[in-house]
């Protein structure tokens, strides 16, 4: 079975964000980055699918030169080879444009299963895998919790609503959007790290994928970003730990009357 897993490089969860001048986007220089959280679980799920059956796991990533480190990390975890679609132009791209690029790269590989994280930590669309499936005319399921190969396809369970879990059979090839927390993500072993450098990494440009300017015309534009204007009446309590703790407890007892 050939498994393609999509991995995105995003700002680290606790990265200190600064808005760039002109408010168009964040300052990316010097920002700590990591594999998007759900994607790590997708990589683990891909490796387990391969281990339960046989075949290969190909990691696919769209991003600038900075994404190389995360691609190498996925290879060190056990992915067999990588395709890096190199472009710096997708930091604020809309879901459909990203999906078209990834679908074009996936098409050449003709995988049996495509795994994505259900949602990226940066743009948070929760949509790219679904849109890839539509463009590739494949079955799809989102917020996937369990997945196993069965005769003729994949049996998966996924969250369909609050606390409601649906099990369905999908034909292959299919695209699955993986929820976080569904498995214990392995760490790269020392051996894995040593081997990663020697694994095939193909760099592909948008031209190589035969995508026209028309294909890549943005459908949606992020015009501006900014820290939210405070809408709640949160009262910020200042002081050192001891003073602040004392003030807070007083307020909870006397003002809010909840203690």
């Amino acid at each position: 079975m050939k498994i393609l897993v999509c991995v995105k490089t995003v700002p680290e969860k606790d990265a200190r964000l600064r808005v760039a001048s002109g408010d168009e986007w964040i300052v990316e220089d010097g920002l700590g980055v990591a594999i998007s959280e759900c994607d790590r679980y997708a990589v683990e799920a891909a490796l387990r699918l391969k281990e339960a059956d046989e075949g290969e796991v190909v990691v696919l990533s769209l991003g600038g030169a900075g994404a190389s480190k995360q691609i190498k990390e996925a290879l060190a975890m056990g992915c067999d080879r990588a395709i890096h679609v190199t472009s710096d132009d997708f930091a604020r791209a809309d879901a459909l444009t990203i999906a078209k690029v990834l679908a074009a790269a996936a098409k050449e590989e003709a995988p049996d299963v495509i795994l994505t994280g259900q949602q990226s930590d940066d743009l948070g669309y929760n949509a790219v895998g679904q849109m890839m499936a539509e463009k590739l005319d494949m079955a799809h399921a989102q917020i996937v919790l369990t997945l196993e190969k069965v005769d003729g396809g994949m049996r998966i369970s996924h969250e369909l609503d609050n606390n409601l879990i649906e099990t369905v059979d999908l034909s292959m090839p299919c695209v699955l959007g993986v929820q976080s927390g569904i498995n214990d993500v392995r760490y790269a072993s020392l051996k894995g790290i040593m081997q990663a450098g020697a694994k095939p990494q193909k760099k592909v440009s948008l031209d190589d994928l035969g995508l026209s300017a028309d294909d890549l015309a943005a459908k949606v534009k992020v015009e501006k970003v900014g820290f939210p204007v405070k809408t709640s009446q949160a009262e910020m309590i200042e002081g050192d730990a001891k003073d602040a703790a004392k003030k807070l407890v007083e307020k909870l007892i006397q003002e809010a009357k909840v203690l």
């Binding site: 369905v168 015009e223 807070l248 909840v258």
Partner: protein, 325 residues
């Protein structure tokens, strides 16, 4: 193309979902600004009474599609039926509540139209006839002003709770719509069941102390239990501590866990991802302790402290003991 807003309404257990009523409320205001009408659509095999309930939410029209192929949700049948509706209505905007089920099929529907998709929006305005959306990016920390390019139909999903339901001033008319689903091949649904309930029921707790990723690790999570002990509170968590098995999964609060509404909710090291917020927004009083002054959780809080929780919580435990004598 019309200036109308098409709302895709969802239902579960024979009732229209609350999030779908929120979408109708949002759509009424957007349609008024666009100079169009609100048309809602309901898919199922026995939707008559739900259609009446939906019609009472206002708007001009409710289209109900009753078809055996829609008795159970499948993305294949939903997308096929909705394509037929969109082809007839030619809406300016297709709006749905950002539910898990919606995310299963809605992006696919947008891609089938090669159209703009703006997911999980928290605000929608109309400026000079153009739709302008606000949505959260970078783990919910930033608001992004987001606009569709071009003139074709736009697809957007509305964040749960962002558009509180407001009573309607009129009732929509209900009409039948028929879509030819004869050739649609649907997937095989093996079963649908409720997630196994854990032994921890947080919904009855008056006071909850919850920890997030910022607590640090499994050993450090003890501090959450310590504060809960001092307050006589229950212990909850956002998703990351459960995923990392610092605490049991059944303590998870949020869209994949329990939905709680205690008198007091103390969030320790929780950044405030929307998936968590939807599970605890109903609390009377929310206290947030976080070292990141920009954490989204402070937007929800009544009281906030920017501090290292491992310094603050021991001091708070002392203060509680002192105050209670």
């Amino acid at each position: 193309m019309s200036n109308d807003v098409l709302v895709i309404a969802e239902h579960r257990d024979g009732a229209v979902k609350g999030i779908s009523k929120e979408s109708v409320t949002a759509a009424r205001s957007i349609a008024a600004d666009l100079g169009g009408e609100v048309i809602s659509v309901l898919l199922g095999d026995d939707t008559a009474s739900m259609a009446d309930d939906l019609a009472a939410q206002g708007g001009a029209k409710v289209l109900k599609i009753d078809d055996a192929k829609l008795a159970q949700y499948t993305p294949e049948a939903y997308v096929a039926a909705l394509k037929a509706v969109i082809a007839q209505v030619q809406p300016k905007l297709v709006l749905i509540g950002h539910s898990y089920q919606a995310m299963d099929f809605f992006p696919r529907l947008a891609a089938a139209h090669d159209a703009a998709l703006v997911p999980d929006v928290t605000n929608v305005t109309v400026e000079e006839g153009q739709l302008v959306f606000t949505r959260k990016v970078i783990n919910g920390k930033l608001d992004a002003r987001t606009t569709p390019v071009g003139e074709s139909t736009v697809f957007a999903s509305a964040q749960q709770g962002a558009f509180p339901v407001q009573g309607a001033d009129g009732t929509a008319t209900v009409e039948d719509f028929s879509a030819d689903l004869g050739d649609v091949a649907t997937r095989k649904v093996v079963e649908i069941k409720a997630a196994e309930a854990g032994e921890v029921d947080l919904t009855a707790a008056d006071v909850i102390v919850a920890g997030g990723r910022g607590v640090g690790d499994k050993d450090k999570f003890q501090v959450v239990f310590d504060l809960a002990d001092a307050l006589g509170a229950a212990v909850g968590a956002s998703r990351p501590p459960c995923d990392s098995e610092w605490v049991e999964h059944e303590r998870q609060i949020g869209s994949s866990g329990q939905v709680v509404a205690p008198k007091l909710y103390i969030a320790l090291g929780i950044s405030g991802a929307i998936q968590h917020l939807v599970g605890m927004r109903g609390a009377n009083c929310i206290v947030a302790i976080n070292k990141d002054a920009n954490a989204a959780i402070f937007q929800e809080a009544s009281y906030g402290v920017v501090a290292d929780l491992h310094e603050f919580v021991p001091a708070m435990i002392e203060a509680v003991k002192e105050a209670r004598g």
